[in-house]
């Protein structure tokens, strides 16, 4: 039986990708950040997942304002890195897992989560930066990836509760697949940051630490948090954190925190990272 065995959350700041791609990872500014992910790369290598479901948001790359899907599941065989204005990142093409992706789409739609099915989609830094952070600079990504794009650009994004419940539906969907697949789910974005207006540069480490604590211990409390609290406390772009609740919902109610890492700043953003495992 297929199952989701672990969840990984991480920020997906574009400047992290640019630092890696331009050979700046060893500089004093960036080194502490990349060092923070090394043990996680070792963990993931040892875990050796068959598939990653990667929850992220597109930043006006694949989706403009013409079509704004709240939840879009990538069912294609492959996804090319997007040209975000400076040419595509020099990272491998992302191989999908159409069989499992379509199985998930059918299952969750019948489970009353009306996803958009996407058969052609370029993937931007929101998806490729987490892959780089967790798999390093590689010639090929070590496993297929199923992208799940969530709208957090056009307000309102889905509620935290909806995200949490979608995570639970994803788990049921994966468990109903009769292939023997070990799946890891990533929730990405955040942590506190604001990129726009006179309040740009906002960082709220107290909010971020409480969010990390509750992600493990009391996800229901986080799922009940209204959007205004994210906007006010974590910044207008900190609302990306609702995506972490999809990851959390896809795990057991009781989880073990394997490790966490928190670092300020990466460009305009607080970087947070956590690995959770089902206790079972």
């Amino acid at each position: 039986m297929a199952d989701i065995v672990a969840g990984i959350a991480t920020s997906h700041v574009p400047a992290i990708g640019a630092a890696l791609d331009n050979g700046k990872a060893g500089t004093p500014y960036w080194r502490p950040l990349f060092d923070g992910y090394k043990p996680s790369q070792d963990y993931l290598k040892a875990l050796n997942p068959d598939v990653v479901i990667l929850v992220y948001n597109d930043h006006a790359s694949a989706f403009s304002l013409e079509i704004i899907p709240t939840f879009a599941l990538g069912c294609a065989a492959e996804f090319a890195p997007a040209d975000e204005g400076w040419g595509p990142r020099p990272v491998p093409i992302v191989q999908g897992h159409p069989e499992l992706a379509w199985h998930i789409a059918q299952s969750v739609i019948l489970d009353e989560f009306d996803l958009t099915i996407v058969n052609k989609m370029d993937v931007d830094h929101g998806l490729t930066v987490p892959l780089s952070l967790l798999f390093g600079q590689v010639k090929e990504w070590p496993c297929p990836v199923i992208p799940l794009a969530v709208n957090v650009v056009q307000y309102p994004p889905p509620t935290g509760h909806r995200c949490y419940m979608l995570g639970k539906a994803l788990r049921r969907a994966v468990q109903s697949c009769d292939k023997d697949l070990k799946v890891v789910i990533f929730g990405t974005g955040g942590m506190s940051h604001q990129l726009q207006g006179p309040r740009a540069g906002l960082i709220n480490p107290d909010f971020d630490r409480a969010f990390l604590d509750n992600l493990t211990a009391d996800p229901q409390k986080l799922a009940a948090m209204p959007h205004i609290d994210y906007l006010r406390e974590a910044g207008s772009e900190g609302i990306e954190l609702v995506m972490w609740l999809i990851m959390r919902g896809a795990l057991d109610d009781a989880v073990r925190e394997v490790r966490r890492f928190y670092h300020v700043p990466a460009s305009n953003t607080a970087v947070g990272h956590i690995i959770l495992e089902n206790r079972g």
């Binding site: 400047a15 790359s61 204005g85 400076w86 307000y155 207006g197 540069g201 906002l202 006010r232």
Partner: protein
């Protein structure tokens, strides 16, 4: 403008339905700059290129003046306006500094020191200017 709870957050424009309707063409202009040929055409004749989009006079003005906060007020979204910044060769952090009224050095130093604190930045009421 219908009053919403997030209007109380200082220095912040939430890209909601109202802003999205106002800024559709402005944002779609920015989106067009994803293509190199369009970037070149815009650079060659900025005002002429803007004629291709159904922009209001106020939107044309803030775009041509590179008034980054003005673009947000006119319905721009930061992930779209940052494409205009990229066309100008500016990074995300550079336009963030401009929007906050700081030099890039001061802004970068603030981020290195832990960023803009939440205390005093939660609400306009808290600050006595709401």
């Amino acid at each position: 403008m219908t009053e919403k709870p997030y209007h109380d957050i200082p220095g912040t424009i939430v890209f909601d339905a109202e802003q999205s309707r106002r800024g559709y063409h402005l944002n779609m202009f920015c989106m067009s700059l994803m293509k190199d040929a369009n970037r070149k055409a815009f650079k060659t004749d900025e005002a002429g290129y803007l004629d291709r989009f159904a922009l209001t006079p106020a939107q044309r003005k803030v775009l041509l003046a590179r008034d980054w906060n003005g673009m947000l007020a006119e319905g721009g979204n930061i992930y779209f306006t940052s494409k205009l910044a990229a066309t100008d060769g500016l990074s995300f952090q550079q336009i963030a500094a401009i929007m906050t009224g700081s030099s890039q050095e001061d802004y970068a130093a603030m981020m290195l020191a832990g960023g803009r604190p939440i205390a005093g930045n939660r609400s306009k009421k808290e600050n006595g200017d709401g």
